[in-house]
Amino acid sequence: MSALGRAWRRARQNRVVVISGGLLAALVVVALVGPLLSPHSYLQTDFENILAAPSFADFHLFGTDDLGRDLFVRTLLGVQVTILVALVASAVSLVIGVLYGAIAGFAGGRVDAVMMRFVDTLYALPFIFFVILLMVAFERNFFLIFVAIGAVNWLDMARIVRGQTLSLREREFVQAAQLTGVSFSRIILRHIAPNLVGVVIVYVTLTIPQAILVESFLSFLGLGIQEPQTSLGALVDAGVNQMEGASWVLLVPASLLALVLLSFNFLGDALRDVFDSRQSR
């Protein structure tokens, strides 16, 4: 059985992984399917039912907001968007970070020094501020948010991957490949990258909640997702204004946001145990 196969088996035996992973999977399914089952759409306003409390009567399961839009549908849409942003942003940081870090770490010497000083320089920029400026200067759109968040996250990934690669490079199987003349790209793809998988998977599960937080933060400031699209952060922002009269407008998206964040954090932590565990049993 491959190392990944073993990790998968251990993951299935780990209660935290099963519970948090299962919860996230269920949430994604509900977020995708739920809006289809509801008679309401996320755009439709209902001036009869402004700030209506949750009820089964009109299928406003989570109530409505200050424009009379159905919060059940909007919250699930928010979950979709939030998780999508997080996944895409993490994927962006994954691809850039792993390749960048692996190349820097394996090439070593001057190449490594130049590449990592570039990362250090980017680190020195106040990124949230930078992102806010970007958002203000350009049209706000999905794409920009992905890029902005991914651009923050790949730096950490690159550093972690480089560190791992540095130690992998000294491993005897990599030296054996070098000695016999396996090409640079093949060493990176066949010998380095597969052995990074454990670390990378763990790190990605931990960057996803980070990306969610950045997105929510931007949306909360009104710089993120644009109406009538929405995300959990934007919903929380809207909910804060209605907090006193209609607490559900805040509580529903806020609790879902907390649930998503907690699940990812627990999942990341538990996956670290799964991959790090030295015990072979």
Binding site: M1, F173, L179, T180, S183, R190, N195, V197
Partner: protein, 584 residues
């Protein structure tokens, strides 16, 4: 009543039984050797005796120490025994000593914690003991931290702290495995010296150690006791086939056929090689200096040295993993580039390497098939898939593995299987030269013997040249045509095996030969151990680097470095080579 009584001990992790129905006793003042290969359960037994098994272990049976129940006792009750009445010496003293406290204060704590002595009385006792175990300048070393001591000194400290509370039983788990062979001899001598103070349970894989030290021995195989008895009796008439196999597999310096020198053209030559590193704060570290050696076609040359001798640097430079500062490497008549990248595919193909750690040298994410086939992918890209697979299978067959192993991952292999795979990977390109860097050091005795025989067989069949790097002289006796001994980066002696093993010229070579434990209690002599330890290569002694430890030292040795010269067909670097020439 015995001091220690182990009765039907069983240790299980999940469904894996690591110790099965083990019963033995240790009498007061007795020394008992517990011998077994890796995975035989010897360390687990030691941990059980001390009540140190991890929580996941399921233990059954009984262990009684001085008529007290150990297995049922809680940590608090065990504290009454541990360190005070029974103590342990671990394999790696650097891991067993706390880096945060000076060695003296760690030892003092044992005395204070158990209300044995306090204040100056405790300090005095600690210093006395440090002196007893041969720590020079004990009063000053009392304040030294573990990292400031050499490996041998650390192990002395470890033994001193085990003895500080005058225990009735000392358990030593592979106490010399991490040490150089000359230092090992010193530590074994020390263990001998303290024999009148305590009973000793010596755990080891090395039969030579038991042969010289223990009154009785126990042989474990896969968690079961297969043989026990007086050491001399077990060695002279082993009953169980596992004991017989262990004794047969133990490398012997004093007997066995040696290979006659071969004549032929040089295939691989290292000429006047020097390797150095920039060490921050020290300047230049000269790992290898002015070293020349050539390997002939079909010949095995062994390079032997203790830690710090520069043997690994030499290999890495020869392979192009680190640059040579001076000298050159010649392969089949062409001078090779300094880095592996600058060498042609033909050179890379003709010069293959087998590493020390068989599992670490195989990519954990690739199957055996892919690991070996990668060599063909690189050097014979035109081969079809089927041809590649056929070649891989054929190669596996040659190294004694069958097809079922093709789809396995490295962690699913035993150490011996993994090393065979590594050898198959190296040989599938039909290289001219195979470099083995401590290729059998991590293997159990019986597996080691098989791998050495495999190398011999391959050489006989294909005329392969082998450069065999090792710290263990005993290993190379049966497989090498010539032996090069290194000390602190320089050549000490280069001679044919026949000459070197029968009449070594250089005092260091002789000391090395004497330091190797002989797995035979009746063997005459015993080990005259070499004093001192290998000096730091950062600050090599002036003159002959070996002079501070040399029994034959003269004035000239302390001031002038001996040149490397030929004396009666032996290349040797010693001022007194002619005078010291052994008779015959």
């Amino acid at each position: 009543m015995s001091l220690l009584q182990v009765d039907k001990l069983n240790i299980k992790y999940g469904d894996d039984a690591v110790v099965r129905n083990l019963s033995f006793a240790v009498e007061a003042g007795e020394s008992v050797g517990l011998v077994g290969e890796s995975g035989s359960g010897k360390t687990q037994t030691a941990l059980a005796i001390l009540g140190l098994l991890p929580g996941g272990a399921k233990v059954a049976g009984a262990i009684r120490f001085a008529d007290n129940d150990i297995l049922g006792a809680g940590d608090k009750a065990l504290d009454e025994f541990r360190a005070v009445r029974m103590a342990m010496v671990f394999q790696d003293p650097l891991l067993a000593l706390n880096p945060f406290f000076s060695v003296g204060s760690q030892m003092r704590r044992i005395l204070i914690a158990h209300d044995i002595a306090t204040g100056e009385a405790a300090d005095g006792r600690v210093i006395d003991l440090l002196q007893r175990v041969g720590l020079p300048d004990a009063e000053r070393q009392f304040h030294a931290y573990p990292h400031q001591l050499s490996g041998g000194m650390r192990q002395r400290v470890m033994i001193a702290s085990a003895l500080v509370a005058e225990p009735d039983l000392l358990i030593a788990d592979e106490p010399t495995t991490a040490l150089d062979v000359t230092v090992q001899a010193q530590i074994l001598e020390l263990l001998e010296d303290i024999r009148d103070e305590t009973a000793l349970l010596l755990i080891t894989h090395d039969l030579g150690i038991v042969a010289g030290r223990c009154e009785r021995m126990l042989v474990l195989e896969k968690g079961e006791l297969v043989e026990s008895g007086r050491t001399a009796a077990v060695f002279s008439g082993p009953q169980h086939r596992h004991t017989q196999a262990l004794i047969a597999a133990a490398p012997r310096l004093d007997r066995g056929a040696m290979l006659a020198p071969v004549a032929g053209a040089d295939v691989f030559e290292i000429k006047d090689a020097a390797v150095s590193y920039e060490e921050r704060g020290y300047g230049q570290l000269n790992a290898v200096q002015q070293l020349s050696v050539a390997v002939k076609e079909g010949e095995t040359v062994a390079i032997v040295g203790e830690s710090g001798s520069g043997k690994s640097s030499l290999v890495r430079a020869a392979l192009g993993l680190v640059p040579l500062r001076a000298g050159r490497v010649i392969f089949s008549g062409t001078v090779l580039g300094n880095t592996v990248q600058s060498r042609s595919a033909a050179v890379r193909r003709g010069l293959q390497l087998v590493f020390q750690d068989p599992v670490g040298s195989l990519n954990p994410q690739m199957r055996v098939q892919a690991i070996i086939a990668e060599q063909l992918l690189v050097h014979e890209p035109d081969l079809s898939r089927e041809d590649r697979l056929a070649q891989v299978t054929e190669m596996l067959d040659k190294v004694g593995l069958d097809e079922t192993i093709l789809t396995r991952y490295p962690h699913e292999l035993s150490g011996g299987q993994a090393q065979r795979v590594a050898i198959a990977r190296a040989l599938i390109l039909r290289p001219k030269v195979l470099v083995c860097d401590e290729a059998v050091a991590a293997l159990d005795g019986s597996v080691r013997k098989q791998i050495l025989e495999l190398l011999l067989q391959v050489q006989r069949n294909s005329g392969l040249s082998i450069l065999f790097i090792t710290h263990d002289l005993a290993v190379v006796r049966s497989i090498s045509h010539r032996v090069l001994v290194m000390y602190l980066g320089r050549l000490v002696e280069l001679a044919t095996s026949e000459t070197l093993f029968s009449r070594a010229m250089h005092p260091y070579t002789r000391a090395l030969l004497k330091a190797v434990p002989v797995p035979d209690p009746t063997a005459a002599g015993g080990y005259a151990s070499l004093a001192g330890e290998v000096p730091s290569i950062l600050t090599p002694p002036p003159g002959c680097a070996f002079h501070p430890r040399c029994a034959q030292v003269k004035n000239i040795c302390t001031t002038t470095r001996p040149s490397t010269r030929d004396v009666e067909g032996v290349t040797v670097a010693c001022h007194r080579a002619e005078e010291l020439l052994p008779a015959g």
